[in-house]
Symmetry: C2
Subunit: 214 residues, 2 copies
Protein backbone atom coordinates (compact mmCIF):
# COMPACT_ATOMS: atom_id res chain seq x y z
CA UNK A 1 0.00 0.00 0.00
CA UNK A 2 1.40 3.33 -1.05
CA UNK A 3 1.00 6.57 0.86
CA UNK A 4 0.14 9.53 -1.36
CA UNK A 5 0.50 12.96 0.21
CA UNK A 6 -1.85 15.56 -1.29
CA UNK A 7 -0.20 18.97 -1.60
CA UNK A 8 -3.13 21.33 -1.98
CA UNK A 9 -2.77 24.38 0.17
CA UNK A 10 0.98 24.94 0.36
CA UNK A 11 3.40 27.01 -1.65
CA UNK A 12 6.06 25.17 -3.62
CA UNK A 13 8.70 25.97 -0.99
CA UNK A 14 6.45 24.64 1.76
CA UNK A 15 5.86 21.47 -0.26
CA UNK A 16 9.57 20.89 -0.69
CA UNK A 17 10.06 21.42 3.04
CA UNK A 18 7.25 18.98 3.92
CA UNK A 19 8.46 16.30 1.50
CA UNK A 20 11.96 16.55 2.96
CA UNK A 21 10.51 16.27 6.46
CA UNK A 22 8.55 13.09 5.70
CA UNK A 23 11.15 11.53 3.40
CA UNK A 24 11.09 7.74 3.51
CA UNK A 25 7.44 7.51 4.50
CA UNK A 26 5.87 8.89 1.31
CA UNK A 27 5.55 7.10 -2.00
CA UNK A 28 3.56 9.52 -4.13
CA UNK A 29 3.55 13.34 -4.01
CA UNK A 30 0.28 14.74 -5.33
CA UNK A 31 0.32 18.13 -6.96
CA UNK A 32 -3.26 19.03 -6.04
CA UNK A 33 -5.87 20.65 -8.27
CA UNK A 34 -5.74 24.13 -6.63
CA UNK A 35 -1.96 24.01 -6.94
CA UNK A 36 -2.27 23.28 -10.70
CA UNK A 37 -4.90 26.03 -11.09
CA UNK A 38 -2.45 28.46 -9.51
CA UNK A 39 0.83 27.33 -11.01
CA UNK A 40 0.19 24.92 -13.87
CA UNK A 41 2.85 22.25 -14.36
CA UNK A 42 5.67 24.15 -12.64
CA UNK A 43 5.32 22.26 -9.32
CA UNK A 44 5.25 18.93 -11.21
CA UNK A 45 8.52 19.78 -12.94
CA UNK A 46 10.15 21.09 -9.75
CA UNK A 47 9.08 18.23 -7.48
CA UNK A 48 10.11 15.61 -10.04
CA UNK A 49 13.56 17.21 -10.18
CA UNK A 50 13.91 17.56 -6.40
CA UNK A 51 12.43 14.16 -5.45
CA UNK A 52 13.27 11.69 -8.24
CA UNK A 53 12.63 8.79 -5.82
CA UNK A 54 8.93 9.76 -5.50
CA UNK A 55 6.14 9.23 -7.97
CA UNK A 56 4.55 12.57 -8.85
CA UNK A 57 0.79 12.63 -9.38
CA UNK A 58 -0.79 15.54 -11.27
CA UNK A 59 -4.34 15.88 -9.94
CA UNK A 60 -5.61 17.51 -13.12
CA UNK A 61 -9.11 15.92 -12.75
CA UNK A 62 -9.40 15.79 -16.54
CA UNK A 63 -12.97 16.07 -17.85
CA UNK A 64 -12.41 16.57 -21.60
CA UNK A 65 -9.69 16.50 -24.26
CA UNK A 66 -8.22 13.52 -22.39
CA UNK A 67 -5.22 12.72 -24.54
CA UNK A 68 -4.26 16.36 -25.07
CA UNK A 69 -4.47 17.39 -21.42
CA UNK A 70 -2.81 14.23 -20.08
CA UNK A 71 0.04 14.70 -22.55
CA UNK A 72 0.74 18.09 -20.95
CA UNK A 73 1.04 16.46 -17.52
CA UNK A 74 3.15 13.48 -18.58
CA UNK A 75 5.51 15.60 -20.65
CA UNK A 76 6.06 17.78 -17.56
CA UNK A 77 7.19 14.69 -15.64
CA UNK A 78 4.02 13.40 -13.97
CA UNK A 79 4.07 9.65 -13.24
CA UNK A 80 0.32 9.48 -12.60
CA UNK A 81 -2.48 11.70 -13.96
CA UNK A 82 -6.07 11.83 -12.72
CA UNK A 83 -9.15 11.77 -14.95
CA UNK A 84 -12.68 12.16 -13.60
CA UNK A 85 -14.85 9.05 -13.43
CA UNK A 86 -17.67 11.39 -14.48
CA UNK A 87 -15.91 12.02 -17.81
CA UNK A 88 -16.95 10.37 -21.05
CA UNK A 89 -15.35 6.98 -21.78
CA UNK A 90 -13.65 8.56 -24.82
CA UNK A 91 -11.92 11.06 -22.53
CA UNK A 92 -10.71 8.34 -20.15
CA UNK A 93 -9.47 6.29 -23.11
CA UNK A 94 -7.56 9.35 -24.35
CA UNK A 95 -5.81 9.73 -21.01
CA UNK A 96 -4.94 6.00 -21.06
CA UNK A 97 -3.48 6.35 -24.58
CA UNK A 98 -1.25 9.21 -23.46
CA UNK A 99 -0.15 7.23 -20.38
CA UNK A 100 0.79 4.18 -22.45
CA UNK A 101 2.88 6.34 -24.76
CA UNK A 102 4.87 7.63 -21.79
CA UNK A 103 4.90 4.33 -19.87
CA UNK A 104 3.03 6.10 -17.06
CA UNK A 105 -0.18 5.62 -15.06
CA UNK A 106 -3.79 6.82 -14.86
CA UNK A 107 -5.98 7.23 -11.78
CA UNK A 108 -9.74 7.64 -12.29
CA UNK A 109 -11.20 9.88 -9.57
CA UNK A 110 -14.73 8.73 -8.72
CA UNK A 111 -15.70 11.94 -6.91
CA UNK A 112 -19.46 12.66 -7.21
CA UNK A 113 -20.09 9.64 -9.45
CA UNK A 114 -23.67 8.69 -8.62
CA UNK A 115 -23.75 4.95 -9.37
CA UNK A 116 -20.29 4.07 -8.08
CA UNK A 117 -20.54 0.30 -8.49
CA UNK A 118 -21.74 0.47 -12.11
CA UNK A 119 -19.29 3.18 -13.20
CA UNK A 120 -16.32 1.51 -11.47
CA UNK A 121 -17.10 -1.66 -13.39
CA UNK A 122 -17.23 0.24 -16.68
CA UNK A 123 -14.01 2.16 -16.07
CA UNK A 124 -12.23 -1.01 -14.93
CA UNK A 125 -12.38 -2.14 -18.55
CA UNK A 126 -10.88 1.05 -19.98
CA UNK A 127 -7.26 0.40 -18.98
CA UNK A 128 -6.80 2.78 -16.03
CA UNK A 129 -4.32 1.71 -13.34
CA UNK A 130 -6.20 2.99 -10.29
CA UNK A 131 -9.82 3.71 -9.46
CA UNK A 132 -9.95 6.14 -6.57
CA UNK A 133 -12.99 6.54 -4.34
CA UNK A 134 -13.06 10.12 -3.16
CA UNK A 135 -15.24 11.99 -0.71
CA UNK A 136 -15.30 15.61 -1.90
CA UNK A 137 -13.63 18.10 0.43
CA UNK A 138 -16.80 20.20 0.21
CA UNK A 139 -18.92 17.43 1.82
CA UNK A 140 -16.45 16.01 4.36
CA UNK A 141 -18.06 18.10 7.10
CA UNK A 142 -21.28 16.09 6.63
CA UNK A 143 -19.52 13.11 8.22
CA UNK A 144 -19.29 11.22 4.93
CA UNK A 145 -16.11 9.20 4.56
CA UNK A 146 -14.79 7.02 1.75
CA UNK A 147 -14.57 3.65 3.57
CA UNK A 148 -17.93 2.29 2.39
CA UNK A 149 -17.17 3.40 -1.15
CA UNK A 150 -13.83 1.59 -0.99
CA UNK A 151 -15.53 -1.64 0.05
CA UNK A 152 -18.03 -1.23 -2.84
CA UNK A 153 -15.35 -0.65 -5.44
CA UNK A 154 -13.09 -3.45 -4.20
CA UNK A 155 -15.88 -5.93 -4.92
CA UNK A 156 -16.11 -4.80 -8.53
CA UNK A 157 -12.56 -4.30 -9.77
CA UNK A 158 -10.91 -7.01 -11.85
CA UNK A 159 -8.03 -5.17 -13.53
CA UNK A 160 -7.49 -1.77 -11.91
CA UNK A 161 -6.29 -1.32 -8.34
CA UNK A 162 -8.23 0.71 -5.80
CA UNK A 163 -7.22 3.96 -4.17
CA UNK A 164 -8.94 6.04 -1.51
CA UNK A 165 -9.06 9.78 -0.79
CA UNK A 166 -11.10 12.29 1.15
CA UNK A 167 -10.31 13.22 4.72
CA UNK A 168 -8.22 10.15 5.58
CA UNK A 169 -6.17 10.70 8.73
CA UNK A 170 -4.22 8.74 11.32
CA UNK A 171 -7.35 7.89 13.29
CA UNK A 172 -9.17 6.49 10.24
CA UNK A 173 -6.26 4.80 8.47
CA UNK A 174 -6.57 1.40 10.20
CA UNK A 175 -10.02 0.32 8.91
CA UNK A 176 -9.10 1.63 5.47
CA UNK A 177 -5.83 -0.33 5.45
CA UNK A 178 -7.80 -3.48 6.25
CA UNK A 179 -9.54 -3.13 2.87
CA UNK A 180 -6.16 -3.18 1.12
CA UNK A 181 -6.38 -0.30 -1.34
CA UNK A 182 -3.19 0.10 -3.37
CA UNK A 183 -2.96 3.83 -2.64
CA UNK A 184 -4.12 5.81 0.38
CA UNK A 185 -4.25 9.58 -0.11
CA UNK A 186 -3.73 11.83 2.91
CA UNK A 187 -3.72 15.63 2.76
CA UNK A 188 -4.71 17.71 5.78
CA UNK A 189 -4.22 14.64 7.99
CA UNK A 190 -0.47 15.09 7.55
CA UNK A 191 -0.12 18.74 6.52
CA UNK A 192 -2.03 20.03 9.55
CA UNK A 193 -0.71 17.44 12.03
CA UNK A 194 1.19 18.79 15.03
CA UNK A 195 4.12 16.50 14.24
CA UNK A 196 4.03 15.85 10.53
CA UNK A 197 6.98 13.46 10.37
CA UNK A 198 5.68 11.29 13.18
CA UNK A 199 2.14 11.25 11.77
CA UNK A 200 3.28 10.33 8.26
CA UNK A 201 5.49 7.60 9.76
CA UNK A 202 2.64 6.15 11.81
CA UNK A 203 0.24 6.16 8.84
CA UNK A 204 2.87 4.53 6.63
CA UNK A 205 3.45 1.89 9.33
CA UNK A 206 -0.30 1.09 9.39
CA UNK A 207 -0.20 0.67 5.60
CA UNK A 208 2.91 -1.53 5.84
CA UNK A 209 1.26 -3.79 8.41
CA UNK A 210 -1.89 -3.96 6.29
CA UNK A 211 0.16 -4.90 3.25
CA UNK A 212 2.03 -7.62 5.13
CA UNK A 213 -1.25 -9.37 5.94
CA UNK A 214 -2.24 -9.60 2.27
CA UNK B 1 -25.43 37.60 -27.14
CA UNK B 2 -21.76 37.56 -26.26
CA UNK B 3 -19.04 35.82 -28.25
CA UNK B 4 -16.59 33.90 -26.09
CA UNK B 5 -13.38 32.80 -27.79
CA UNK B 6 -11.87 29.66 -26.26
CA UNK B 7 -8.09 29.78 -26.13
CA UNK B 8 -7.09 26.16 -25.69
CA UNK B 9 -4.27 25.18 -27.94
CA UNK B 10 -2.25 28.37 -28.34
CA UNK B 11 0.73 29.81 -26.52
CA UNK B 12 0.21 33.05 -24.61
CA UNK B 13 1.88 35.05 -27.39
CA UNK B 14 -0.37 33.44 -29.98
CA UNK B 15 -3.42 34.26 -27.83
CA UNK B 16 -2.44 37.90 -27.58
CA UNK B 17 -1.92 38.01 -31.33
CA UNK B 18 -5.33 36.41 -32.01
CA UNK B 19 -7.18 38.68 -29.57
CA UNK B 20 -5.62 41.73 -31.21
CA UNK B 21 -6.62 40.39 -34.63
CA UNK B 22 -10.29 39.91 -33.67
CA UNK B 23 -10.55 42.98 -31.43
CA UNK B 24 -14.04 44.47 -31.42
CA UNK B 25 -15.77 41.21 -32.24
CA UNK B 26 -15.00 39.33 -29.02
CA UNK B 27 -16.60 39.85 -25.63
CA UNK B 28 -15.08 37.12 -23.49
CA UNK B 29 -11.60 35.57 -23.73
CA UNK B 30 -11.58 32.05 -22.29
CA UNK B 31 -8.37 30.77 -20.78
CA UNK B 32 -9.05 27.11 -21.58
CA UNK B 33 -8.51 24.14 -19.26
CA UNK B 34 -5.37 22.80 -21.01
CA UNK B 35 -3.93 26.30 -20.87
CA UNK B 36 -4.54 26.44 -17.09
CA UNK B 37 -3.06 22.94 -16.66
CA UNK B 38 0.08 24.12 -18.43
CA UNK B 39 0.46 27.63 -17.05
CA UNK B 40 -1.90 28.11 -14.11
CA UNK B 41 -3.24 31.63 -13.65
CA UNK B 42 -0.43 33.38 -15.57
CA UNK B 43 -2.48 33.72 -18.80
CA UNK B 44 -5.47 35.07 -16.80
CA UNK B 45 -3.27 37.77 -15.25
CA UNK B 46 -1.58 38.61 -18.54
CA UNK B 47 -4.72 38.75 -20.69
CA UNK B 48 -6.57 40.83 -18.10
CA UNK B 49 -3.71 43.33 -18.18
CA UNK B 50 -3.45 43.38 -21.97
CA UNK B 51 -7.20 43.40 -22.72
CA UNK B 52 -8.98 45.26 -19.93
CA UNK B 53 -12.01 45.75 -22.21
CA UNK B 54 -12.62 41.97 -22.38
CA UNK B 55 -14.13 39.71 -19.76
CA UNK B 56 -11.66 36.94 -18.92
CA UNK B 57 -13.11 33.49 -18.22
CA UNK B 58 -10.99 30.94 -16.35
CA UNK B 59 -12.17 27.52 -17.51
CA UNK B 60 -11.04 25.79 -14.32
CA UNK B 61 -13.90 23.22 -14.47
CA UNK B 62 -13.97 23.14 -10.68
CA UNK B 63 -15.08 19.80 -9.19
CA UNK B 64 -14.25 20.23 -5.50
CA UNK B 65 -13.08 22.83 -2.97
CA UNK B 66 -15.29 25.31 -4.82
CA UNK B 67 -14.72 28.43 -2.80
CA UNK B 68 -10.99 27.86 -2.43
CA UNK B 69 -10.30 27.13 -6.09
CA UNK B 70 -12.58 29.89 -7.41
CA UNK B 71 -10.88 32.37 -5.09
CA UNK B 72 -7.58 31.60 -6.84
CA UNK B 73 -9.11 32.42 -10.21
CA UNK B 74 -10.94 35.59 -9.17
CA UNK B 75 -7.95 36.95 -7.28
CA UNK B 76 -5.88 36.48 -10.46
CA UNK B 77 -8.34 38.71 -12.33
CA UNK B 78 -10.87 36.29 -13.81
CA UNK B 79 -14.31 37.82 -14.43
CA UNK B 80 -16.02 34.45 -14.87
CA UNK B 81 -15.04 31.03 -13.46
CA UNK B 82 -16.43 27.64 -14.52
CA UNK B 83 -17.61 24.93 -12.15
CA UNK B 84 -18.76 21.50 -13.33
CA UNK B 85 -22.47 20.78 -13.32
CA UNK B 86 -21.43 17.29 -12.19
CA UNK B 87 -19.98 18.74 -8.98
CA UNK B 88 -21.76 18.56 -5.64
CA UNK B 89 -24.17 21.42 -4.88
CA UNK B 90 -21.91 22.41 -1.97
CA UNK B 91 -19.03 22.93 -4.42
CA UNK B 92 -21.14 25.06 -6.77
CA UNK B 93 -22.36 27.11 -3.81
CA UNK B 94 -18.75 27.67 -2.75
CA UNK B 95 -17.86 29.00 -6.19
CA UNK B 96 -20.91 31.30 -6.06
CA UNK B 97 -19.84 32.60 -2.63
CA UNK B 98 -16.38 33.45 -3.95
CA UNK B 99 -17.89 35.16 -7.01
CA UNK B 100 -20.20 37.31 -4.89
CA UNK B 101 -17.27 38.41 -2.75
CA UNK B 102 -15.44 39.63 -5.85
CA UNK B 103 -18.54 40.94 -7.68
CA UNK B 104 -17.80 38.42 -10.45
CA UNK B 105 -19.63 35.61 -12.27
CA UNK B 106 -19.99 31.83 -12.34
CA UNK B 107 -20.64 29.56 -15.31
CA UNK B 108 -21.77 25.98 -14.64
CA UNK B 109 -20.44 23.66 -17.35
CA UNK B 110 -22.95 20.87 -17.99
CA UNK B 111 -20.49 18.63 -19.85
CA UNK B 112 -21.35 14.93 -19.40
CA UNK B 113 -24.26 15.63 -17.03
CA UNK B 114 -26.60 12.71 -17.68
CA UNK B 115 -30.02 14.17 -16.80
CA UNK B 116 -29.49 17.65 -18.22
CA UNK B 117 -33.01 18.97 -17.69
CA UNK B 118 -33.16 17.91 -14.03
CA UNK B 119 -29.65 19.08 -13.15
CA UNK B 120 -30.06 22.42 -14.96
CA UNK B 121 -33.19 23.05 -12.91
CA UNK B 122 -31.35 22.26 -9.67
CA UNK B 123 -28.32 24.41 -10.49
CA UNK B 124 -30.55 27.29 -11.61
CA UNK B 125 -31.47 27.73 -7.96
CA UNK B 126 -27.89 27.86 -6.71
CA UNK B 127 -27.06 31.38 -7.86
CA UNK B 128 -24.85 30.76 -10.89
CA UNK B 129 -24.95 33.36 -13.67
CA UNK B 130 -24.69 31.03 -16.66
CA UNK B 131 -25.53 27.41 -17.33
CA UNK B 132 -23.50 26.22 -20.30
CA UNK B 133 -24.48 23.20 -22.38
CA UNK B 134 -21.28 21.65 -23.67
CA UNK B 135 -20.57 18.83 -26.08
CA UNK B 136 -17.23 17.35 -25.01
CA UNK B 137 -14.38 17.77 -27.48
CA UNK B 138 -13.74 14.05 -27.19
CA UNK B 139 -17.20 13.20 -28.61
CA UNK B 140 -17.63 15.92 -31.20
CA UNK B 141 -16.48 13.52 -33.93
CA UNK B 142 -19.59 11.40 -33.25
CA UNK B 143 -21.69 14.17 -34.85
CA UNK B 144 -23.15 15.24 -31.50
CA UNK B 145 -23.71 18.99 -31.21
CA UNK B 146 -25.06 21.17 -28.41
CA UNK B 147 -28.13 22.70 -30.12
CA UNK B 148 -30.65 20.20 -28.75
CA UNK B 149 -29.16 20.56 -25.27
CA UNK B 150 -29.48 24.34 -25.52
CA UNK B 151 -33.17 24.04 -26.38
CA UNK B 152 -33.66 21.68 -23.41
CA UNK B 153 -31.93 24.00 -20.95
CA UNK B 154 -33.64 27.15 -22.20
CA UNK B 155 -36.98 25.60 -21.29
CA UNK B 156 -35.87 25.06 -17.69
CA UNK B 157 -33.95 28.17 -16.66
CA UNK B 158 -35.65 30.81 -14.56
CA UNK B 159 -32.72 32.75 -13.09
CA UNK B 160 -29.50 31.83 -14.85
CA UNK B 161 -28.77 32.63 -18.47
CA UNK B 162 -27.81 29.96 -20.97
CA UNK B 163 -24.52 29.51 -22.76
CA UNK B 164 -23.43 27.01 -25.39
CA UNK B 165 -20.10 25.36 -26.23
CA UNK B 166 -18.73 22.43 -28.14
CA UNK B 167 -17.74 22.65 -31.78
CA UNK B 168 -19.73 25.79 -32.63
CA UNK B 169 -18.54 27.33 -35.89
CA UNK B 170 -19.66 29.84 -38.50
CA UNK B 171 -21.80 27.25 -40.31
CA UNK B 172 -23.66 26.23 -37.13
CA UNK B 173 -23.95 29.65 -35.45
CA UNK B 174 -27.25 30.67 -37.06
CA UNK B 175 -29.58 28.01 -35.57
CA UNK B 176 -27.85 28.44 -32.22
CA UNK B 177 -28.33 32.23 -32.29
CA UNK B 178 -32.04 31.65 -32.92
CA UNK B 179 -32.26 30.05 -29.46
CA UNK B 180 -30.86 33.22 -27.86
CA UNK B 181 -28.20 31.92 -25.48
CA UNK B 182 -26.45 34.73 -23.62
CA UNK B 183 -22.99 33.41 -24.48
CA UNK B 184 -21.79 31.45 -27.51
CA UNK B 185 -18.37 29.82 -27.14
CA UNK B 186 -16.25 29.29 -30.25
CA UNK B 187 -12.76 27.77 -30.22
CA UNK B 188 -11.39 25.94 -33.25
CA UNK B 189 -14.10 27.55 -35.39
CA UNK B 190 -12.17 30.81 -35.13
CA UNK B 191 -8.64 29.68 -34.24
CA UNK B 192 -8.38 27.32 -37.20
CA UNK B 193 -10.33 29.48 -39.66
CA UNK B 194 -8.48 30.59 -42.79
CA UNK B 195 -9.35 34.20 -42.10
CA UNK B 196 -9.81 34.52 -38.36
CA UNK B 197 -10.80 38.18 -38.27
CA UNK B 198 -13.43 37.77 -40.96
CA UNK B 199 -14.82 34.60 -39.36
CA UNK B 200 -15.07 36.15 -35.88
CA UNK B 201 -16.73 39.20 -37.41
CA UNK B 202 -19.29 37.10 -39.27
CA UNK B 203 -20.12 35.03 -36.19
CA UNK B 204 -20.45 38.16 -34.06
CA UNK B 205 -22.74 39.66 -36.70
CA UNK B 206 -24.99 36.57 -36.55
CA UNK B 207 -25.16 36.96 -32.76
CA UNK B 208 -25.92 40.69 -33.08
CA UNK B 209 -28.76 39.99 -35.51
CA UNK B 210 -30.09 37.23 -33.21
CA UNK B 211 -29.98 39.59 -30.26
CA UNK B 212 -31.80 42.36 -32.13
CA UNK B 213 -34.76 40.05 -32.70
CA UNK B 214 -35.10 39.35 -28.99
Amino acid sequence: MKLQVALDTLTLDECVHLLEEIRGDTDIAEVGTPFIIEEGMRPVRELKKRFPELEILADAKIMDAGEYEAEKCFSAGADIVTVLGAANDATIEGVVRAAKRYGKKVMADMIEVSDLEKRAGEIDGLGVDYICVHTAWDVQNTGKNPLDDLITVNKVLKKAQSAVAGGVKLSTAEPIAKEHPSVVVVGGGIIHAQNRKETAGKIKEILRRGASCE
